[in-house]
Amino acid sequence: MTTALTPRRRPGTPARRSARRRPPLLLGAATLLVVLLALLGPLVPPHSPTAQLAAPFQRPDGAFPLGTDVLGRDVASRVLGGGRTIVLTALAGTAAAGAVGMAAGVLAAMVSRRLGDLLVRCVDALAVLPPLLVVLVLAAGFPGSGAAVVAAVALATAPFSTRVLRAAADTVLASGYVEAARARGDTRRAVLRHDVLPNIAGPALVDTALRLVASLHLTATAGFLGLGPGGAAPDWGRMVSENAPGATLAAAPFLAPALLLVLLSVCVGLLAGRLADTVGRGAA
């Protein structure tokens, strides 16, 4: 009744609409660039990223394009080498969270309602924990392990996936064609494979993209707090914490990794937002 009175959204002008529907090429290119830099950077460092080569906090010059860091290591080499762990850990955490969330969400939708509610409630109990607390506690349990960070990222982000995917699967299971499939005697497995999974792929993709944003956020923070594999290996998050005390002496050693982290998280975040918009609109 009310929707007839006013549209929920003020319709944009056609020109603006088409601009928003255009694929985000610039954003995609920027994301690709920074991810490639992170992944391939370790292959082409000008110097060893862990060797002490000069006095600490040297100004940028020919030999060291970004100067040297708190221990006199080459900042440019460390910047090139410091993104891979973050990207790979975040991807591994997202994959693990996606798998757990998908399995738990679909399971909760397929079993009886009471059992499903119970499962979701257990998962909700986990969601009470601040994600960072999970990371810190797991890191205390497994000191210096990268797997702990992956597990913590998965554990911290999976509860949301479970909820979202259960809701998505519930909608599919309540639809007419699933009823028809069941009526003609399809097994649960066939319904799962041919009806549920293909139809929740869209929401699952969006959800995974949003988890990746959270995952990058947590992984970088874990690096900053010195959790996960320690030692001298470069890591953008840790570089910020190492070089922040010398910020007055040299800005590049902590600004370069900080700005790269901004670029990475903002690009991935905006892309995920666009994806959610597009898929959400397509489904509506």
């Binding site: 009744m1 009310t2 009175l5 006013t6 929920r8 959204r9 003020r10 319709p11 944009g12 109990a125 009470v128 924990l129 601040p130 994600p131 960072l132 607390l133 810190l136 506690v137 797991l138 890191a139 205390a140 349990g141 497994f142 000191p143 944003v213 990058l216 956020h217 970088a220 923070t221 900053f224 707090l225 010195g226 959790l227 998050g237 910020v240 914490s241 922040a244 910020a247 007055t248 800005a251 902590f254 600004l255 900080a258 982290l261 901004v262 998280s265 903002v266 991935v268 975040g269 905006l270 937002g273």
Partner: protein, 317 residues
Amino acid sequence: MNLLAFAGRRLAGAAVLLVLLSAAVFAVTAVLPGDAVSAVAGVDASAAQRADVRAGLGLDRPAAERYAAWAADAVRGDLGHGFVGERPVTDILATRLPNSLLLAGLTLAVTAPLATLLGLWTGLRGGGTADRVVSTGAQVLAAIPEFVVAALLVAVLAVWAGVLPRVSVVPLGGTPLDAPRALVLPVLTLSAVGLAVATRLLRVSVADAAATPYCEAARLGGVRGIRLAVRHVLPNAAGPAVQALTLTTGALVGSAVVVENVFDYPGIGRELQLAVAARDVPMVQGIATALVAVMLLVLLLGDVCARLIGAREGHGR
């Protein structure tokens, strides 16, 4: 009466959850390989020394028994002693937690009104330019890790402009209120992050409230602008808004841990990170359990507030 019963039931639920989660924390820190023994005895201790330390710490007993003993003490207000410096965990909580709560309180005082304003402004103009700019800005800000936001603020305000201290140096034995300048950067960082989270949540509740028949009727009756926002939209959006702010406060618990570490702020998050770095297991258990309790309390308060607002408006269940 109904509200009391509701609060009681929620309180019981939260208590059960606290027990379960503290057991989980205990299990992860006490049973898994991050063994407290090597943290205390040193890496190159002999097997006999390790066995001694193990027995001294009571680690030779079964984990369930240890948890029961720990929980029984915890109920009586004794969370044990940290390994490092033998400090009682409750002392640390008593001195550091208020500092963190101060930080959270100030942040909330900045965030809540600003987020309400921005939420109203954008929610009432769904789809407009202002809405898109603010929403995208919030999305961008929410994606950036807190420590990067903090580092950039430090770079601009403390290093280049030189107007604020880079770390929060608090006089020995004093509270952060004795050095108000030290609070500015941490509160600013947390507020920026909290604002990004809260604005997005509030925008949704405002947009929902603005679409109700009630607001529609008011708008058709010629009510506009601030009057529409304050008299008609805000009361309707208040319930979900309180829950949005609750969620933001919950998220602040995690952000505060990071921000305290950036600025060396003497809060509970800083202690937690130090304890994790030193593998001080009792300290990690105590602080993590306390933080979970704070979190549950915040959620409980948010639920009760939302319920109160709902009851007053007459659409509580």
